[in-house]
Symmetry: C2
Subunit: 411 residues, 2 copies
């Protein structure tokens, strides 16, 4: 018995029979005595259809109009879900972003929530009505419709849960929770029962597409417990919460990997101040996001500069870097699209020095060469040859005992 | 040079190339030095698609949710048209009903406009921006989205034109204007260059589906000149205005006909007070709209009562009437689905007695029997056998000289 915010993604409301399924789930939580607020995304495929329409009319659509257009997807979903609940005899009412109201800044298509008003929703809850709120959309101070960017419905759910001080924000998706690694490449992957906000953020940014990273930041900031679970199963999923005693015993929570990056090396760069800027300024001006950067220590007044960019921007980046390399009189530019990035994530490694060497040893045992390394407080990433990517993920998954539970830190 | 409100219907924005066509038309009016406000309907077929979705979820959908759902059709259109204008280098901005704001009562799906705020639109016009306003939708005092009923976008257009004191409200559709009769049954049908509000209302309610009748009432009330024209042609269409000197010379402006009604006769009804109520109360309680009613004068304490109902409600009405006839001890109930209603409409007949007899004579010459007659100030309707419907329309069209211009009243 409590207040639950339930957020359902596009596949969960992908057609009318699935909307009926969602209505039954909502009804169940309600009949168990909970106050329920529902947040829904657009029906799967609908947002893409609307985006295509916009791009057929304009190569670079004005983002205010774009947001007005694509926010109709969620408007359709909330009305249909409210109707489905009503046809089961349950009082329900749809609310759009401006009706709630979910106030955002005016950064169309990537708007950030500034304030969520909850008086209207509280009033409906007191009256026994289930509010069905459109995810992904808000309104700016001038009354323009805004959207929160891809996956923004997660953020809507978490923001509502924070503002309503809900007991939990349940994020319903088409997988059963957050896994130790991608089950498609590692059959031993195991569903995590609990993970910290920080770990989830590292997992999300590394390619585990379960939760929008911004929603996790939001949940961390307001300490909203998230429960990621499947709308097609009754099983408990993964709780995302603040770090607790129990979690600290975990060394590594998950292994992620992706093949979406490419590597560039500028060879024999003169080792002088301002050189890095000469290389990276044109790249950032072209809106290309650089991920890992490594500079070898200088020996003879020259150094090698290696970094990775998204594969989609590879050709553009290569052209810019070649031009810069010529200007700064570097020797040459090497490029490699066949790389994979494998990472281990775990809050436990923060206070444990041996994790990196365990990782390198495990890879070495399989003769997998490490091309680049980068680390954060709770993550270590290695770039390896693409053909060893999946193997590396499986090896690390096993090395840290993720298939059987967890390797605990020594006392 | 002036202020023009242009309203485009569903077929005019039926696909992206047609939206492009509309954008070019809007641009032209703008480049000619006019201030332009555009009102658009949903893309043809879209509203029906959304209605079907609602009915698949619920047999009797809650109308608040229904309006939230179907209003997305216009939201998509305004965004796409604004984008199309922008891609031509023209400043344009979409506005939804709540953004304008178009304030209505809370009668969902059949809401009536109570007030149109124009400050925001005026501000945009002063800034050289073309506002593209969603037709058909408004917002009630509580912030709920409402819709105005089928064809409601016409009313939006006229209401905006009235509030903005526009010079004209152009209603773009897929025909070239208002015709003297249906060109499909009478090849001599001629486009009218001008027609009065009153005549247009009679024409609209009699089946000429060019304009929503409510929009004409609105135009009459605020004296907004309407120009009905085709979005696929440059030709001038039909002006709908208040009666003027010129129009008064016209005897008959148009001939309408429809086959959508059925006739019921209750034979030998005891002629006592309260009997008509016993027959019509159950029918009105079943939400069946009775059109023509005729009661023969009583002879021997009994009378015959004849009336028409929409064909769609015929069976239901027949059942109710049979029951009532039994209760009031009428002799029997006769029913006839094979009827057509033919009408002549003209502001001129108001001050001219001979029109009815011209009509009856013309029909008699062709041996067309008249079953029922009803009249208003500017309209005479006759019910005839269905098989003579089209013929009757053609005969009347010729009798009143509509194919060659007009028959003028004698001085």
């Amino acid at each position: 018995m409590g207040l639950i915010v339930q957020k359902y993604g596009g596949t969960s409301v992908g057609d009318l029979s699935r909307i009926g399924n969602v209505a039954r789930r909502v009804a169940k939580a309600h009949q168990e005595g909970n106050d329920v607020v529902v947040v829904v995304s657009a029906m799967a495929g609908e947002t893409d259809r609307l985006i295509q329409l916009a791009h057929q009319v304009s190569d670079t659509p004005d983002l205010r109009e774009f947001d007005t257009l694509i926010s109709t997807g969620e408007q359709v979903s909330v009305a249909l879900l409210a109707l489905a609940l009503q046809s089961m005899g349950i009082a329900a009412k749809s609310f759009l972003g401006p009706q709630v109201r979910i106030l955002t800044d005016s950064a169309f298509s990537v708007a950030r929530i500034e304030k969520v008003e909850v008086n209207r929703l509280r009033k409906e809850l007191r009256g026994g009505v289930i509010p069905v709120v459109a995810g992904f959309q808000g309104v700016d101070g001038a009354g323009n419709i805004t959207t929160l960017g891809r996956g923004g419905s997660d953020t809507t759910g978490v923001a509502l849960a924070a503002a309503l001080k809900a007991d939990v924000c349940e994020i319903y998706t088409d997988v059963e929770g957050v896994y130790t690694t991608d089950p498609n490449i590692c059959p031993e992957a195991r569903k995590l029962s609990i993970i910290s906000y920080e770990e989830m953020m590292e997992m999300a940014s590394l390619g585990a597409k379960v939760l929008q990273i911004r929603s996790v930041e939001f949940a961390k900031k307001y300490n909203v417990p998230i429960h990621v679970r499947s709308s097609f199963s009754e099983k408990s999923g993964t709780f995302v919460t603040k770090e607790d005693e129990r979690m600290e015993k975990l060394l590594v929570s998950g292994v992620t990997y992706n093949k979406n990056e490419a590597r560039l090396t500028v060879v024999r760069v003169p080792d002088k101040p301002g050189i890095a800027s000469r290389i990276f300024t044109p790249i950032s001006e072209a809106n290309i996001v650089v991920d890992m950067i490594i500079q070898n220590s200088s020996a003879d007044g020259h150094t090698d500069m290696t970094f990775t960019v998204p594969k989609a921007d590879f050709k553009k980046a290569l052209k810019l870097v070649k031009k810069a390399a010529e200007e700064i009189k570097a020797q040459e530019v090497l490029a490699d699209e066949n790389i994979a990035k494998v990472s281990i994530v775990g809050a436990g490694m923060r206070s444990h020095a041996g994790v990196a060497s365990m990782m390198f040893t495990a890879l070495a045992k399989e003769n997998i060469n490490i091309m680049m390394i980068s680390t954060s407080e709770i993550k270590i990433s290695c770039v390896v040859d693409a053909k060893y990517g999946e193997l590396a993920a499986r090896v690390l998954h096993q090395a840290f005992g993720l298939e059987k539970g967890e390797i605990r830190k020594e006392p």
